[in-house]
């Protein structure tokens, strides 16, 4: 390990795949080279400063690890060299999945949302993916308008530098519903993973019981949002309807999975008549179609026996993908938690699962 700073103790070694690192669009102006003149003029004249919501408020300590901002006023996650020196080069990372949580879903003008999503993707291609071959990209799409999301997947989804479609975990309508199947189909057709990621600003509350008062509730509550999406995807039958569909759950934790799936399996046995297209126990669909990243790690890393129990219940060797989640900081400890991994699970979790899931060896 190199100079990594607070909360950044991580595994190092050959063959590591980091399944979640972030890039941040530094400003609306950074997108100008990738926007039509019409939109540049609109943005200049209106003073639009970029998608206004931010899943990672810059002043919140979880949004940026110390030292992860470039130091020139740009936000954490906006500089490729910082990512290189803090993650890619230090850890010996073979490949990393790059995620850009640009809040296109907050832009209510559908044409603007579409144009800006395209610009973000072209920016990712030109300034990150083209420059750093270890990075594999995630397509930003106007997820609030399924037809336009499909159009963006059709535009760039065949480019091998993109390996998944980024969908904010919070949505106006859960992603398994019929009107969204066209988006799932477009991803599957191009062998892209569908990725549900921390964040989203659909206009409805971040909790199922209404608007909370504090950021901490949205932050902690994202695990329940992930559960709701996963539950819906399974109940709607998408994993049989699209047999090659792969879904990654990114930055939503994974420790909730065993109790959630136990309940879901149990009740599927008694209630499955309502959803007869769900032909197998929900846990089997998760095992075969879903992978989860390891950050945030919602466990006491000083209790290896508790970790071992939960890891076994999750089926961690099969479904977990290691992620640093740079530049975010989830109150990680200074220890390298991956030392708790069972010996035969190290290679799968630290690289093999992600390599296979994202077809990185093709």
């Amino acid at each position: 390990m190199g100079e990594v700073g607070i909360g950044m103790a991580r595994p190092a070694g050959a063959g590591i795949v980091d399944a979640d690192v972030h890039c941040t669009v530094p400003s609306a102006a950074a997108l100008f080279p990738y926007l039509a003149d019409h939109w540049v003029e609109q943005i200049r004249q209106s003073g639009f400063s970029g998608a206004s919501e931010n899943a990672y408020p810059p002043g919140i300590p979880t949004s940026a690890r110390p030292g992860s901002a470039p130091g020139d006023g740009r936000p954490a996650g906006s500089d490729l060299d910082v990512l290189r020196t803090q993650v890619l080069d230090v850890d010996g990372v073979e490949a990393a999945i790059l995620n850009c949580a640009y809040a296109v879903d907050t832009i209510r003008n559908p044409d603007a949302a579409s144009a800006i999503a395209s610009a973000v993707n072209d920016w990712q291609l030109a300034e990150w993916l083209e420059v750093e071959p270890r990075l594999h990209g995630s397509l930003v799409v106007p997820s609030q308008i399924p037809e336009l999301a499909v159009a963006e997947i059709e535009r760039l989804g065949d480019d091998p530098r993109f390996v998944q479609v980024f969908l904010p975990a919070r949505s106006a309508v859960p992603y398994g519903r019929r009107d969204f199947h066209k988006v799932l189909a477009a991803a599957v057709e191009r062998d892209l993973v569908v990725s549900l990621q921390y964040g989203g600003f659909p206009g409805n509350p971040p909790t199922a019981v209404g608007w909370p008062s504090y950021h901490i509730e949205e932050y902690v509550g994202m695990a329940s949002v992930m559960q709701s999406q996963l539950m819906n995807l399974i109940a709607e039958g998408v994993f049989d309807a699209f047999g090659d569909l792969r879904v990654s759950l990114v930055e939503g934790g994974f420790t909730w999975l065993p109790s959630f799936l136990w309940r879901f399996d149990k009740d599927w046995k008694g209630l499955r008549r309502e959803v007869p297209w769900v032909r197998r126990p929900p846990s089997e669909y998760v095992h075969d179609h879903v992978r989860l990243t390891t950050a945030p790690l919602d466990l006491d890393t000083h209790r290896p026996e508790a970790f071992a129990t939960l890891f076994a219940q999750v089926g961690g060797a099969d479904v977990l993908m290691y992620a640093s989640d740079h530049p975010h900081l989830h109150a990680d400890t200074g220890d390298d938690w991956t030392s708790m991994l069972p010996e035969d699970a190290r290679a799968p979790v630290l690289g093999d699962n992600a390599r296979a899931f994202y077809r990185l060896n093709r």
Partner: protein, 160 residues
């Protein structure tokens, strides 16, 4: 000694069921449009009274939004957790390889066939066992002595 007379046929008309006790175990006898099924009244999950559950058909699908509903009357749901079982085989719907309830062969036999081979009416439990090795159950001797005139439901505990 595995074949037991469990009920008179007219006690279990089509669309109904009757839970009987045979050789120390409770068995539900179901008449589905004249076809008879017998299932142990003990769910393999948590020993619930399976045969008191809702009787329905099989719901299946090949794609979201599509429903197939058939085999009406042949799928039994445990009243405790709604697990579904196929009356014909005893196999559960969701895990037929591992979760199954004991199902028995049930059929109709005439009274005449159940009595002694000399065609004398069976009037007591001491009657000689019939040639097929059937063991007369409680209804034959004690409730319906004029048994020869009726059809009976017989269950084979060793079948299936």
């Amino acid at each position: 000694m595995s074949i037991h007379v469990v009920a008179r046929l007219d006690e279990v008309p089509p669309g109904t069921r009757k839970v009987v006790e045979v050789a120390g175990r409770e068995i539900g006898v179901f008449n589905v449009d004249g076809e008879l099924f017998a299932v142990r009244n003990r769910c393999p999950h948590m020993a619930g009274p399976l045969c008191e559950g809702y009787v329905s058909g099989a719901v299946s699908s090949t794609t979201p939004g599509e429903y197939h509903f058939d085999r009406v009357g042949e799928i039994l749901r445990c009243p405790w957790h709604q697990w579904e079982f196929d009356m014909r085989t005893g196999q559960s719907w969701f895990d037929p390889a591992r979760v199954r309830v004991r199902a028995y062969q049930a059929r109709i036999a005439s009274g005449a066939s159940l009595v002694a081979t000399d065609e004398a009416p069976a009037t007591t439990t001491d009657a000689a066992p019939p040639a097929e090795g059937m063991v007369p159950g409680p209804y034959v001797a004690e409730t319906y002595p004029v048994s020869v005139e009726h059809d009976y439901i017989v269950v084979d505990l060793l079948s299936r």
